[in-house]
Symmetry: C2
């Protein structure tokens, strides 16, 4: 399977090829892709070798074929069913952000424990009472639990999600979750990311 940076770059090629395709162009060279995305041609060639598409000499890749192939390759996101827990600012932001939609993330449920939020709607998603989570998840199989809750609740909710049979957790709470080995977990720390940037600015100041 591909490494994390490779998958991220593949998503970038995919987006870029859709743009170029929409402009009516038919072929594109590896060098051109590399130039426009500010990568090394050798990197682009290596990354794109995971597809079954071979570029023709002097002409390059057939754009539609390459995009189709990347569509298939990146289709692992298609139909990934998720529930999001925690309809606070971060949860709200993720629900509004459309960047996942094209890769197929399907947020089936949104849960919160705040009576003021329960039964309100965020971007078309009804906020449900967290108390009824197990019941909802027993009826609809969910792949990923997205945790946008305060740290103190994260592990308990992660345990419940695992009990309910989720295969993966996408954790935005500032804690390393302890979960069984057969469950995938990915941690995000956006505020920490800002601190990293800020520390680098300090170095050059």
């Amino acid at each position: 399977m591909c490494s994390e940076p490779t998958i991220k770059r593949l998503s970038v090629y995919h987006k870029y090829l859709k743009e170029v395709e929409a402009s009516g162009q038919e072929f594109i060279s590896c060098t051109k892709i590399a130039k426009n995305l500010h990568l090394l041609p050798i990197q682009v060639r290596k990354d794109l070798s995971i597809t079954d598409i071979v570029g023709k000499p002097r002409v390059g890749y057939h754009i539609k074929d390459l995009r189709d192939s990347l569509d298939r390759f990146l289709s692992f996101g298609k139909g990934v069913k998720a529930c999001l827990i925690g309809a606070g600012n971060l949860g709200y932001s993720l629900l509004r952000y459309k960047g996942f939609d094209e890769y197929g993330l399907d947020i089936k449920f949104v849960f919160d424990n705040n009576p003021d939020k329960i039964d309100t709607y965020i971007d078309g998603h009804q906020v449900l009472d967290i108390k009824n989570m197990a019941e909802h998840l027993s009826k609809t199989e969910i792949d990923v639990g997205v945790l946008t809750v305060p740290r103190v609740y994260a592990q308990t909710l992660a345990n419940k999600l695992v009990e309910c049979g989720v295969k993966a957790l996408w954790n935005f709470a500032p804690i390393r979750l302890l979960i069984p080995q057969n469950v995938v977990v990915k941690h995000e720390n956006i505020a920490g990311s800002f601190l990293v940037l800020a520390s680098r600015i300090k170095q050059i100041r």
Copy 2:
């Protein structure tokens, strides 16, 4: 300077210590911190050694002192002045997300080129016409340009921001930016992050 993972973990300790401090506790051991954050004690001890605080045998760290020290250490985020370009869904989400505030990110300006958005307000920030960016930035020094624009605009805007004297770019557009060596750049790819998670789910399916 610390590595990216270290800084992210320090932000996690910082958040955690504020919680413990608020509960009235006075001392905490390295083992306890490690246990509650699901890290190895040796890791925590090493990370916290960047502060000037030494834990006492059998008692541990003085929580307030340790938190104060982390406050100082993580203060590089304080007063970092930013402008955000692109008031679309992602820009909107970042403006609403409060996770950066405690580390001091100060978003001074929000720019967009869409007449429907210009002069509207997002979370208290007036959306300004991108045409007037250079003028605004000549009057108020800005450290970081946050780019939440479509890929095609990202490099041009990055160049303009560099001309205006920003020290760093925080880029959420799916492109590697070409920038002078003395400018810091940090790339984020949240949609790509979802794909990475999805690819791991596929592996265990």
